[in-house]
Amino acid sequence: MKGSLLARRPSPRWGVRHAARLWRLVVACWVVSVLSFLPAVWVVDGAVSPALENLPDAELGVPDGEVQLIARGALREVVAPLRLAVLSGVFTLWMWTVLWHAGVVNWTLWAGGRRVRLGELLGLGVVSWWRYALLSLLSAGAAIGAGVALLLPFEMAGEKSYPALVEQHLVPLLAMGVAGVVVVWVVWATTARAAWLIGLPERRSVVVAWLLGLAGTLRVPLTSLGTVALWALPAVLISSVPLAVGVEFPALREGLAIPLLGQLAAAVRAFCWVGLFASFAPVTGLVGNEPDLEHDSP
């Protein structure tokens, strides 16, 4: 039984379908991701607007570094509230994500996928919110531990300074950077897999579920990491578009094009995250058992 549990594969196709069915959740994720950081944006806006609004039109220009100088001066006055606003945004987003993860698992596995209101889905999440929060902290801890483990051999190599470390071991360090990305993906896949295993009737502990998730990820690495890549790469790339456009086309910074692009990216991103998470539902064996991607060797 355990062997087959570990060998089950995530299904991006199922993820797409499930995310489409959960379009209300996608919209909610989009709205929450925007709202979470609105206080931070307000704090910045409130601090810099009085000064920056008096600057001349772009074509008249200002001396080199002027805008940054004025903005920094204004922001110095609001460091504490700004820090609080950013941290509260991060915390809100984290709480929200844990909540909908729990809700989606419970709804999918226990409500049989019947039509459900968003509030009802979130209510299902509240019931086991703390277990999913624990899982989240566990995965973050695992990633930090993996990072430390990667760097430990260099720390113990006895070099006197970081510049010396870089000089002596540049290629291995760059390789470690790549390995670090793979580790992050492994942890992502493991966490998503474990989140679904927590919802199974066996009521495993969070730690056991995470370890089973890890074993499953390693058992079918190509499919697991491929699923993460399939969703995460477009999400990251699309999120970079507004920033890249702003860097390359300064004239567009003043208009509404970049904010609109940003909202579009946020919406696509929300869909990707819901789809990524839902793609791992088939690892439970209770849903979506149609084959997908290429098969890994057991």
């Binding site: 979470s36 600057l55 995965s139 966490t191 920033l243």
Partner: protein, 670 residues
């Protein structure tokens, strides 16, 4: 003798025919052997000192600066460690010192019994960085004294650019060096401080170093002799018209030597030559630069960066040569210390600079970091402001660090603007320096002795950055051309001399024809801030008088004014919040697109202008071009009739998306 020595010889012969000046006061002949295992030096030294002043002296003062690294109690260490738990050396074997074991006149008179330590700056009994010796007879004006001495020294683990890191040895401040005799003011010979290193007389050096075989050596001056011994190598270096001598040594297996040259025909960017011609009003012939040798010592692990290091050096030599006159020596040696010795990086010695690199800079995107370029430009700048113009870094540190920082910012801006090196688009040096100034909580006075600042941070901010920004302000006030001509004039006049602040002011006043004492006094010698402000703008209809008028011996109602057709009376008030007094320009823009420029002498605290205009005033800008770079509080320099919301979007277009990106990375963990 090597071919490389040829230009030095020719130069020496040419100079020998000229008048004796401040550049020929001391003559050192030093023989030194490096013990690479114990990191020790053993040397003998023959010194000839000529009294070029009109006052006799019967003593000689010496720098013994390696003693700054002898314990935690020296003046240098106390200042360096102030308020911090910084550990200067890793182990007890890391301390450095120098000891004079023999000192006598060439006639054999033993002077060692008269040799005593002095602490002219702080009386710290644990400081042994200065010593004086009584001579049996005074040295009269125009006459010389010649001495011989023996010394032994131990190099510290690299602390602030001197010492050893493993087998790499950066040997600066290493030999007993004479201070500067200033006539009636006596000897100027300060203790070694955390924030300053240099002040000595110009002279000539002939230094013979012995190192193990298969080691590479980089040194001030040029190599004129080389002899391979059984298990060692003896090299002789000669340097003229310099006020210090430094060298480095490392095994050939650790460091490579890359030979190069500065070929003006190839290395001077044509756009820079054109700009210099226009700015300085000189012909291409006047700006012709001589070719010279470049010698790079680079860790073998960084050989891939050698071309970039040489290219930075060439660009720097081109920039400084065009603006401040040709580099007056036949060779420049560039040392990139190995990573363990990075503390030796970023230092200037005559005709030798240390920079810093890392293998990381060979890997994109790190390869676009301007690390090498910034350090190289700065240190090459010191070849002029410190090397050629030998100011007193103890008493007027801004004269070398500040002028160099100014030139560094200008040169880096030109490199970026002209796309000469592919670098990341980053904030300019000017923006960075102004931000730093804006963050400092107190007004800063620049012109102080180096160790009298509140702390090392304040020293750096004042001498490097505030001075650079002050000079940028002066450039804005007098104009780019006049500024460049004045700077060049200063360097030409003070070449191989000990320049003082007054010399810089005099050069500016003579070239510009303006009295600029008010500027230097406030910018450098007082802790006053520049701060202009738009205090207010009011619009009123000038529709004529209202009320009653006295006509034909009776009061008569004037009637309602015709506001629609009347002009606006615009009242503009400009204020000076800072204590710095000076003139400022104000730009006024009107609704019909018309712009008007006004000047205010800034003498009072405020001024008021009343203008009549058919159109409303839409915008006021005080110092619209930012000529007063010293002003860091600029948010009240602007006024608009209708605040422009787009400006906020233009400045913070990235904020919301970036924050959401942070959130994006958070989600998959949850």
């Amino acid at each position: 003798m090597t071919l490389r020595a040829l230009p030095w010889l020719i130069g020496s012969l040419l100079l020998a025919g000229g008048a004796i000046a401040q550049d020929d006061i001391v003559r050192y002949e030093i023989t030194v052997k490096l013990d690479p295992v114990g990191h020790r030096l053993e040397g003998t030294q023959r010194v000839r000192w000529t009294n070029r002043t009109g006052v006799p002296t019967s003593e000689l003062w010496w720098h013994l600066y390696l003693n700054a690294f002898a314990s935690t109690e020296t003046t240098f260490m106390r200042e360096r460690m102030a308020g911090r738990s910084w550990n200067p050396v890793a182990g007890d074997n890391g301390w450095g010192w120098v000891r004079v074991s023999r000192l006598e006149l060439t006639d054999g008179t033993d002077l060692l019994p008269r040799f005593e330590f002095a602490r002219p700056d702080d009386g710290n009994p644990e400081d042994f960085t200065v010593a004086r010796v009584e001579l049996p007879r005074p040295v009269l004006p125009g006459s010389s004294v010649e001495l011989e001495l023996s010394f032994e020294a131990r190099l510290p683990e690299i602390v602030d650019r001197t010492g050893h890191a493993g087998d790499f040895h950066m040997i600066g401040q290493w030999f007993p060096k004479l201070g500067v005799f200033e006539g009636s003011s006596g000897w100027n010979c300060h203790q070694f401080h955390a924030a300053s290193e240099f002040y000595a007389d110009f002279g000539s050096y002939r230094v013979e170093v012995t190192v193990p075989r298969d080691w590479v050596v980089g040194a001030s001056g040029v190599e004129v002799e080389r002899e391979i011994l059984e298990d060692a190598e003896r090299l002789v270096f000669a340097a003229d018209k310099v006020h210090d001598f430094a060298w480095c040594a490392a095994p050939d297996s650790l460091m490579a030597v890359v030979e190069g040259e500065f070929d003006p025909g190839r290395d001077v960017p044509p756009v820079w030559l054109d700009r210099a011609r226009r700015t300085l009003g000189l012909s291409a012939a006047d700006l012709e630069l001589p070719p010279m040798y470049l010698r790079l010592l680079v860790p073998r692990t960084q050989l891939a960066l050698a071309d970039r290091m040489l290219r930075s050096s060439r660009l720097s030599l081109a920039w400084f040569g065009l603006l401040y006159g040709p580099y007056p020596y036949p060779q420049m040696t560039v040392v990139a210390p190995p990573p363990d010795g990075l503390r030796a990086g970023g230092m200037e010695y005559p005709t030798l600079i240390t920079i810093s690199g890392s293998r990381l800079l060979t890997v994109p995107p790190f390869s676009r970091l301007p690390w090498i370029e910034v350090v190289t430009v700065h240190e090459v700048g010191h070849q002029y402001f410190y090397g050629v113009v030998g100011s007193n870094e103890f008493e007027e540190p801004w004269l070398d660090e500040g002028l160099t920082s100014f030139a560094e910012n200008e040169c880096m801006a030109a490199i970026a603007k002209d796309g000469l090196v592919p670098l990341w688009r980053a904030a300019s040096g000017w923006a960075r320096d102004r931000h730093r100034l804006g963050r400092y909580p107190l007004p800063l006075m620049v012109d102080q002795w180096a160790w009298r600042f509140r702390n090392l941070g304040a020293y750096g901010l004042a001498t490097y950055h505030k001075t650079a920004v002050a000079l940028k302000s002066l450039q804005g006030l007098v104009g780019e051309d006049r500024f460049a001509r004045a700077m060049r004039s200063y360097v030409e006049r003070q070449r191989f001399r000990h320049a003082e602040a007054g010399d810089l002011v005099a050069a500016f006043e003579e070239v510009t024809g303006d009295n600029l004492g008010w500027f230097f006094e406030q910018a450098l010698r007082r802790d006053v801030d520049v701060d202009w402000s738009v205090l207010g703008v009011r619009h009123t209809r000038s529709a004529g008088a209202r009320g009653m008028e006295w006509v034909d011996d009776r009061w008569r109602d004037r009637g309602a004014p015709d506001e629609e057709g009347s002009e606006w009376t615009v009242t503009v008030e400009i204020g000076r919040r800072g204590e710095f007094v000076g003139p400022v320009e104000v730009s006024l823009s009107f609704a019909d697109g018309r712009r008007e420029r006004r000047s205010w002498d800034g003498q009072g605290r405020w001024t008021r202008w009343q203008l009549s205009s058919e159109d409303r005033l839409t915008q006021v800008m005080v110092d619209p071009e930012g000529k007063w770079a010293l002003e860091t509080n600029r948010d009240d320099n602007y006024w608009r009739d209708e605040p422009r919301r787009e400006n906020v979007r233009r400045a913070f277009w990235w904020l919301s998306d970036t924050l959401q990106m942070v959130g994006l990375l958070l989600v998959p963990w949850s």
